[in-house]
């Protein structure tokens, strides 16, 4: 029996039989690409002409001064086309789809970022595109839905289950088993059945490859620590991968603490004790589930972190002690966002801000000779509805009320 696709105890490909053949083909194509330097070069070329890779590594001088400890560097995945690291994975899979000759892509999306990125890639590559998005997330991220539709994608609100990311994944799988011949499922994070975790990590590893060169150039040596938020784990794996063999670089994944671990309203898989090993959505990892194995509802102010599972690769690195996991609460996130906007003129996505929270906690305990890198996985201006809401901004509310009234009267 082929035990491929496992990272330690985690991973695998727990897929319905109807997908077996397509996974065979996907594995074969991916393996070919992985072993073909020309493919990686084509990928880098695409990312540097269509998106803006290499993304900068910004020295956050004000924040560094403010905390008086480590030099804080920020890896600017927010400057990618479509506003987040999701573009890396999606464009990479797009190239794969072209090679496999498929004509249609589907994707799940939580925050809407992966959906946006996939719809964008589909437009660019001339593919039909359907995006599954939990109804709850459609509500939270309406602007992204608008753009996806404008880009020609069909957005399907998923009304099953908790109506968030995991349910969108289930629904995407249902589409896939139905339309398997023509369709590729562009999985959005380093989760799901093999080869997705490995493939997504590979495409995202461009982040860390660049960051390693950049930090050496600017700081003269490897960073002491790297912080990344962890939803599925793709931006974290993206920046961590290159540094895993660097023993002195501490890798810190930050999960969504939501209302606080004690409240149960969170998405803490690896930094708490609420999760346990399980198999769902095609792979084995630590899931937030009850004693029967039923998945729990999760909570985060950041839709993109609001997920029950976590990358099997990260579960393995966690188990082996190579990556440390922490959690940031919604409240801490809003405070760190505020500080980052005011001090550096940067608007991290709510997801990304989780990494900032933990970095801010640890920076003061390091010295100015140490560098830390925060992966700013995306930009926050997509989150205007969530952020303005979370800040309880009165003029925003007034603006929306007024617009709403205008639209009601038009009817």
């Amino acid at each position: 029996m082929d035990k491929q696709g496992f990272f330690g105890n985690w991973g695998g490909a727990y897929i319905p039989e109807v997908l077996h053949q397509t996974f065979q083909e996907l594995n074969a194509e991916f393996t070919k690409c992985k072993n073909d330097p020309a493919f990686w070069q084509e990928y880098v070329e695409l990312m540097s002409t269509y998106s803006c890779r290499p993304t900068p590594l910004t020295h956050a001088e004000n924040l560094s001064r403010h905390f008086g400890g480590a030099q804080i560097y920020i890896k600017r995945e927010d400057l990618n086309h479509t506003g987040a690291h999701k573009a890396n994975n999606v464009m990479g899979q797009g190239l794969l789809v072209k090679r496999m000759g498929k004509k249609r892509v589907i994707a799940e999306t939580g925050a809407g970022q992966h959906g946006m990125a996939t719809a964008t890639m589909a437009a660019k590559f001339g593919l039909a595109c359907t995006i599954y998005m939990g109804e709850e997330d459609v509500r939270r991220q309406r602007p992204n839905v608008f753009w996806m539709e404008k880009m020609g994608a069909t957005v399907v609100p998923v009304t099953d289950g908790s109506r968030t990311l995991k349910d969108a994944i289930n629904e995407a799988f249902r589409d896939w088993v139905t339309n398997v011949d023509e369709t590729h499922y562009v999985f959005g994070t380093v989760c799901g059945p093999h080869p997705f975790p490995e493939m997504v990590a590979w495409f995202q590893s461009i982040i860390g490859l660049e960051a390693a060169e950049q930090i050496i150039k600017y700081h003269g040596k490897m960073p002491a620590r790297i912080f990344a938020c962890v939803g599925g784990g793709s931006n974290a794996m993206g920046i961590f991968k290159r540094f895993i063999p660097e023993d002195n670089v501490e890798l810190v994944g930050v999960e969504a603490g939501g209302h606080g671990i004690a409240t149960g309203l969170h998405a803490v898989r690896l930094s708490g004790t609420d999760a346990s090993p399980g198999v769902a959505q095609g792979y084995k990892t630590m899931f937030l589930q009850d004693s029967d194995g039923q998945m729990k509802e999760t909570h985060s102010v950041a839709a993109g972190l609001d997920y029950v599972g976590v990358s099997p690769i990260l579960a393995d690195l966690w188990e082996k002690g190579r990556v440390r996991f922490e959690a940031a609460t919604d409240t801490e996130v809003m405070a760190a966002l505020d500080l980052t906007m005011k001090k550096e003129g940067l608007i991290p996505a709510l997801e990304s801000t989780h990494a900032f929270v933990q970095a801010f906690k640890e920076a003061p305990r390091l010295t100015p000779d140490d560098a830390i890198i925060i992966n700013m996985s995306g930009r926050g201006d997509k989150d205007i509805f969530t952020i303005a809401h979370a800040f309880n901004d009165p003029s925003w509310k007034e603006f929306i009320i007024k617009r709403g009234l205008e639209y009601s009267q038009d009817k």
């Binding site: 029996m1 082929d2 035990k3 695998g12 490909a13 727990y14 897929i15 319905p16 039989e17 109807v18 997908l19 077996h20 053949q21 397509t22 099953d160 289950g161 995991k166 289930n170 799988f173 249902r174 088993v177 139905t178 339309n179 398997v180 011949d181 346990s276 090993p277 399980g278 198999v279 769902a280 959505q281 095609g282 084995k284 899931f287 589930q289 004693s291 029967d292 194995g293 039923q294 998945m295």
Partner: protein, 254 residues
């Protein structure tokens, strides 16, 4: 061999068997009890009881909703096990568990097999557990003599079917088409060709499921397969017209 033998015995008297599907705890165990009673009374040969799971990835909307409702009603795995023991004690047909792998994994594979055995369960259908990931599962199945029902899909190559068949017992569940449960399948020439391929790949009985909804569907399968699987359709029936009509519906299928 137990399950396969039971089915073969029944096949001596009928030109095609019927397997039905229920979701445990939906809409309630009481209704499950009544529905099963009527099914058995009207000649169903085998029943797959789905232990509800929060992520029913391979199911269509009717069964997805049934899973969700069952869980919302507080259905626990322990309740399902107890109910299954009652059913196997009451009715003289083989009962199977259908569920997703996490239910078994989380319970503990070995413990689950032991418990299912004690409950009189004859086989397991686990749509998200390909043999590659089921090494220990298949071993325990052999040990506990519970048939691991493997699945053929129209996308399976001949070679793949042979691999699957080598791990399967009891019967092979042939998925009639790409897709999820609940959408009507048309038993056309392509399905016939597919079932021929299935037949060539295994000597196990062939069950055909996914979208078998009426007498026409069932009779179309006679001679091409051994068992027709009625899934979403009885759930729909109970939803819309109550448990009382299940008996006549089943009686009318053959």
């Amino acid at each position: 061999m137990q399950l396969e033998q039971q089915l073969r015995d029944r096949l001596k008297k009928k030109d095609i068997l019927l397997m039905t599907h229920i979701v445990l705890g939906y809409p309630s165990f009481d209704t499950n009890r009544e529905v099963i009673r009527q099914m058995v009374a009207n000649g169903v040969d085998c029943i797959e009881m789905q232990i509800p799971f929060s992520e029913p990835m391979a199911d269509g909307p009717v069964i997805v909703r049934a899973n969700q409702e069952a869980l919302r009603n507080g259905t626990r795995v322990a309740d399902c096990l107890a109910f299954s023991a009652e059913m196997t004690a009451t009715h003289d047909i083989p009962f199977l568990f259908m569920t997703y792998y996490n239910i078994i994994f989380k319970y503990g594979e070995k413990a689950f097999f032991a418990k299912a055995k004690a409950c009189g369960i004859k086989g397991f259908i686990v749509p998200d557990l390909p043999p590659e990931e089921g090494e220990s599962f298949l071993q325990l199945a052999a040990e506990y003599e519970i048939a691991p029902i493997l699945i053929f899909a129209p996308t399976s190559t001949d070679e793949r079917m042979r691999v699957l068949a080598s791990h399967g017992q009891g019967f092979i569940y042939c998925v009639a088409r790409r897709g999820v449960t609940g959408v009507k399948s048309v038993i056309g020439q392509d399905v016939v060709e597919y079932l021929k391929r299935c037949r060539q790949a295994t000597s196990l009985p062939l069950a055909v499921g996914f979208g078998i909804q009426d007498r026409d569907d069932v009779s179309a399968l006679i001679g091409k397969a051994d068992m027709a699987v009625i899934g979403s359709q009885t759930i729909r029936l109970v939803d819309e017209q109550g448990a009382g009509l299940v008996g006549p519906f089943i009686a009318g299928l053959r």
